[in-house]
């Protein structure tokens, strides 16, 4: 067996704030193979984006990746000097952002923003780069790409802008794409189209995909594996069908229970009570304790990771198979 394409081990990222150093993500571990899709799910503020940016090496001081390993094709990205890391970014590892209205530079034409991405990593002529940019636009389903190359971002709709961003991410056929809630800012029909485009392209190119979302229902049809994040830690991690069918962590259980499709018509949606705790003021022991119906004295200590049938879990009193979701 060769090493997995991406292996994250005990990743920890901290920020310096007015209130002192805050550990935003901790003990984050997962692996991803070629062509695999990992869904990274959790409420807003749970540390999903920070995980993505940590892998990209884009955590700016006063923030810092302060622990763990990011093994990409066997090499720890944390030890790479910046020029080598930059050579990987946008080339072997690409990222798509949440809000397509903000990610493209408003005063530069699309061709400029695409061609520079190619020239940053390859010595080709501008004409060749331009042709490739045009083909990439066509590939993500943008009509009359030759003309659209000359347009500015504001001349595209939100969905089309996100397609442009995807085309840019795909320019170098990366081994890994980190998609940070790329459909959250779009309406539902566009969401489905974007989802289909990325899924097809990732499969065709054998690209590994980390799909970040706060919406579990998106993950169901897309991902192979799912990691559920809560307050900076992965609390449940396993095969997507297994986790969605039989969630064991009370938080995952609650998330799935609150999906509209799981609730009979005319009935109020079941919501998880309470709100996400501030990362700076996490409760002692299990971070989910104040919102957890199963909490006991034991939960005042931090729950260890347990592993059963390929599923990782961080809970003292997991939901058992017999209990109804």
């Amino acid at each position: 067996m060769t090493a997995p394409m991406l292996e994250i081990r005990n990743l920890r990222t901290e920020f310096a704030t007015d209130a002192g150093r805050v550990t935003v993500i901790d003990e984050v571990s997962f692996t991803l193979n070629r062509g695999q899709v990992l869904g990274l799910v959790g409420e807003s503020g749970s540390g999903k984006s920070v995980t993505g940016f940590s892998i990209m090496g884009l955590i700016d001081p006063p923030g810092q990746v302060s622990g763990g390993q990011i093994l990409f094709k066997g090499e720890d990205l944390r030890t790479l000097p910046e020029p080598r890391m930059r050579a990987l970014r946008g080339n072997r590892i690409a990222m798509i952002f949440q809000d397509p209205a903000m990610t493209l530079n408003p005063v530069l034409r699309i061709d400029t923003q695409m061609i520079e991405t190619i020239l940053a990593h390859e010595k080709v002529s501008k004409t060749v780069a331009r042709d490739r940019a045009r083909d990439a636009l066509g590939m993500v389903g943008i009509p009359s790409p030759e003309e659209r190359l000359r347009a500015y971002p504001h001349q595209f709709s939100g969905g089309m802008r996100q397609r442009v961003a995807i085309a840019i991410a795909l320019l170098h056929r990366p081994d890994l794409i980190i998609a940070d809630e790329p459909t959250t800012a779009l309406d539902v029909t566009i969401q489905a189209q974007i989802l289909a485009v990325v899924q097809r392209l990732a499969r065709d190119h054998g690209t590994g995909l980390i799909w970040i979302t706060h919406d579990l229902s998106v993950i169901a049809g897309l991902a192979d594996r799912v990691a559920v994040m809560y307050a900076g830690r992965i609390v449940e991690h396993g095969d997507v069908d297994t986790v969605i069918r039989t969630p064991r962590h009370p938080y995952t259980h609650g998330l799935i229970g609150s999906l509209p499709s799981r609730n009979p018509r005319g009935q109020h949606l079941k919501q998880i009570t309470g709100t996400t705790p501030a990362i700076a003021a996490l409760p002692q022991g299990c971070a989910f304790r104040p919102r957890c119906a199963r909490a006991t004295e034991a939960c005042l200590a931090a729950p260890p990771v347990t592993q059963t049938e390929g599923r990782l879990l961080r809970c003292f009193h997991p939901v058992t198979e017999g209990e109804a979701a």
């Binding site: 930059r86 080339n91 990610t103 005063v107 520079e116």
Partner: protein
């Protein structure tokens, strides 16, 4: 775009007309120039003839129309002091002032942009804090004081640069220019720098805040995620966005700079419009004052128009909305 330019031209003409009316009104308030013009021993006949010659016997609205007519024809009377047509007199001094003002604006970009870029890229560094503190000084020091200080240091103590006049000039297009000779350039440096100090500070601060905002933007983060070199991100992605407000503000400020050059020209004995207007005010030389003010108004209006067009060219979002 053409329709828009036409509308803007019409607006500009209206502004110029309004200013002319205001100016005419102000002249009425100052009172009749007859007393200044007549020698003390003038006879009653001489007085009446002068009043008729100046058109002051006509009703006000006719006087205003004559005033406008003169303006359109570029004829605003003859200077009482120099006995030359006032417009020609002002125009002959215009190149010196324009040269000074434009050089000052150029300096503000050459110095202010890099300072702002450096300060904005590392906002918390010592360099950045020094630059930003310095820019506050540049804002608050009075222009005449800076001028005198510069003369003291560079002309009197060090003896490096001359402190007055334009130096050697070269005739191009029938006008003399200082910046084309080494001697002229040396004469230009001190007045231009003291005139631009305010603009340097402004450009520095504008650039700094623009860079800070752009550096924390999503599009810069995306550019970094694409693997672009920091240099390209700063000089293309950031600078292009920062240039929009900088060009707008600096462009609009050219008019103010020309107005401020009155002080600078006086301190450095720079033979431009500013110097002549001060002399004319002292001598109550009405035609020259009127010609100066109208010319400054016209330039303001024109500069505004050009900046507006430039702004549209720089910012694609606005450019296309108008179509």
């Amino acid at each position: 775009m053409t329709l828009w330019i036409f509308q803007r031209l019409l607006q500009a003409a209206l502004v110029a007309l309004a200013m002319a009316a205001l100016l005419f009104l102000a002249l009425q308030l100052i009172g009749s120039p007859v007393e200044t013009l007549l020698p003390a021993e003038a006879t009653h006949e001489e007085r009446l003839r002068l009043i008729r010659d100046l058109g002051l016997d006509q009703p006000l609205h006719i006087q205003f129309l004559m005033f406008l007519k003169g303006m359109v024809q570029g004829n605003l009377g003859v200077s009482y002091v120099f006995k030359e047509p006032a417009v020609a007199l002002i125009l002959s001094r215009l190149p010196a002032t324009l040269e000074l003002a434009l050089f000052a604006v150029l300096l503000s970009l050459i110095i202010g942009l890099p300072l702002g870029l450096i300060a904005g890229r590392r906002p918390h560094s010592l360099t950045a804090q020094t630059i930003m503190t310095g820019s506050i000084l540049g804002f608050s020091l009075p222009i005449f004081w800076v001028g005198i200080l510069l003369i003291m240091i560079f002309s009197v103590w060090l003896g490096w640069l001359p402190s007055s006049g334009r130096g050697q000039t070269v005739m191009v297009l029938g006008v003399g220019w200082s910046f084309l000779t080494w001697d002229g350039l040396r004469h230009l440096i001190l007045p231009a720098f003291s005139l631009s100090l305010f603009n340097i500070s402004m450009v520095t601060r504008l650039t700094e805040s623009g860079v800070r905002e752009a550096m924390s933007s999503e599009y810069v983060k995306f550019a970094r995620a694409k693997g672009l070199a920091p240099r390209r991100i700063l000089t293309v992605h950031v600078l292009k966005n920062v240039m929009i407000p900088v060009v707008t503000v600096v462009g609009l400020d050219i008019g103010t700079t020309i107005a401020f050059s009155v002080v600078t020209e006086t301190i450095f004995a720079w033979p431009g419009m500013g110097k002549i207007i001060i002399d004319s005010i002292a001598a109550l030389d009405r035609p020259v004052i009127v010609a100066y003010l109208m010319l400054v108004v016209l330039m303001f209006v024109l500069i505004n128009l050009v900046v507006d067009i430039l702004y549209r060219l720089l910012d694609p979002r606005i450019r296309l909305q108008g179509e």
